[in-house]
Amino acid sequence: MKQKILQLTLGVVTSIGGFLEVGSIATSAQAGASFAYQLIWPVVLGTIVLIFLVEMSGRLAAASKLTVSGAMRDRFGFDYFVVPLVTLSVVIYLVLAAEVGGAAFALQLVTGISYRWWAVPVALLVWLILWAGPFSAVERWVPLVGLVTVVFLVGALELNLDWGALAHGLIPTMPSHDGLHYWFLVVNILGATIAPYLMYFYSSGAVEGKWDESYIGINRVIATIGMSFGALLAVAVLVVCARVFEPAGMRMEGYDQIALMLTGALGSWGFYLFAASLFVGCLGACLEIALAVAYMTAQGLGWRWGQDEEPRKVPRFVLVYTVLLALAPWLIVLGVSPLQVTSMSMALTAATLPVAIIPFIVLMNDPVYVGKHTNGWIGNCVVLFTIVMACILAVVTIPLQLLGGG
């Protein structure tokens, strides 16, 4: 039982560390600065959907000992599987570029040297951690350090909050002004929150951790607590920006503005803790993303895989994340603004959600794979709602991205 408790705390900590990354920080900051508390509802909506999807990934792994992409190739064949494999690899590559940009910008805040110089070292650092560190190390120390992102919660509590307006933000309301930018941010927040790579990473970790059916209860707790706490941090970022930037009419156009959010309440501590949280949050996300694409490819094509294995034993798995990390920094080095890469990657994530989520409704109701742990009535309705919402997002995202602008 003690081993299970360890797995439980580890799981919760992993999801906290993995939740707050450049996407949630940037989109929450933009939302708070432009629309105060009005955009809390997409964060909550996205988190509820994420909790269900992550819980299902864990349950699939525990019940069938198969990961998400392994089961997808198994169940739908290569002809269907190649679609999510290609589209998600491209979209997730852009998210990785945004994360590298975020971590690089954090280093610029602290050192003054331009983020463009930091992009390659960041990608190299991520590669070194994956190459040398076994999975348990990655899964253990990254999220522990990720807890520094709790500083946003401290920042939020420092400012006496208007709880009434905060609760009102939970209810979806139509924008009073600048409707286009409002919906653009809704799409980006949903894209940032419902991150498909978390499903591939989480289910692979569960299979690598040799979860069995006795873990299904723990899995539900990990998914719920971990993701909700992560969402709390995203809401904290939104609330702080609503209190600090919205009254002054400051709209977030770049991370140098976002970096000011905690300096009022916590002075220079606020500045350096923001830089640390951005760096650690993005680093954790980079590790998870690079592994997620490697898992997805290796499991789908039947190669040997496993982060705990020596690189020589799983050569093609290692090659995937090596090539991915070799390609990741160049968008940032070319000087594309990290915030723009973030917005683009979040919008594309939202637009490609149907491809990642539709297989879930079939897999999670197939007794061949999940045995008696098939989806309940609620689970199916949530996934169905997500698919319909995802299809709407897919249709609306591209025009919004062009018209709504960063």
Partner: protein, 146 residues
């Protein structure tokens, strides 16, 4: 594709509603466009002012303040050229371009003061920036009210 057809109908309807909403959002009248430009002036002036204030309180390092102010100046100038090219009511365009210029000048002088490390002089410039932000805000409110 039987399943696709079933879902397509639902998706088509919803998409039409949202597409209409998106279209409504993007047909900005010149007056609305002018108001957006003024809000942008206010945002940049307030951002430069906040960097100045945090720098005076030593809450942010010099390196960060210099780099941030330099990038603000560049962005303000690019927004200024966009505004002068946009089709705005003549009188409002003059105001807006002038507001952009004075904000750019104030931000640039704040940058030089930070480079010199002269925190006393910074106080005057942040006050000027605060005034720019207030003017832009009041002008945009007047445009909205009319």
């Amino acid at each position: 594709m039987r399943r696709g057809r079933h879902r397509g109908v639902g998706r088509g309807g919803m998409a039409a509603v949202l597409a209409a909403l998106v279209a409504a959002g993007c047909s900005r009248s010149p007056r609305e466009q002018a108001r957006m430009e003024l809000l942008s002036v206010r945002s940049w002036a307030a951002s430069a002012q906040m960097v100045g204030e945090r720098w005076m309180e030593r809450a942010v390092p010099d390196r960060y303040a210099k780099r941030a102010l330099a990038s603000f100046v560049k962005k303000i100038e690019s927004e200024r050229s966009k505004a002068s090219a946009a089709d705005l009511p003549a009188r409002a365009k003059a105001h807006i371009v002038a507001a952009f210029d004075s904000t750019a000048r104030a931000t640039d002088s704040l940058l030089r003061v930070v480079e010199r490390g002269d925190r006393a002089a910074a106080a005057h410039i942040t006050a000027r920036l605060a005034a720019r932000a207030r003017d832009a805000h009041s002008m945009s409110e007047r445009l909205r009210a009319k």
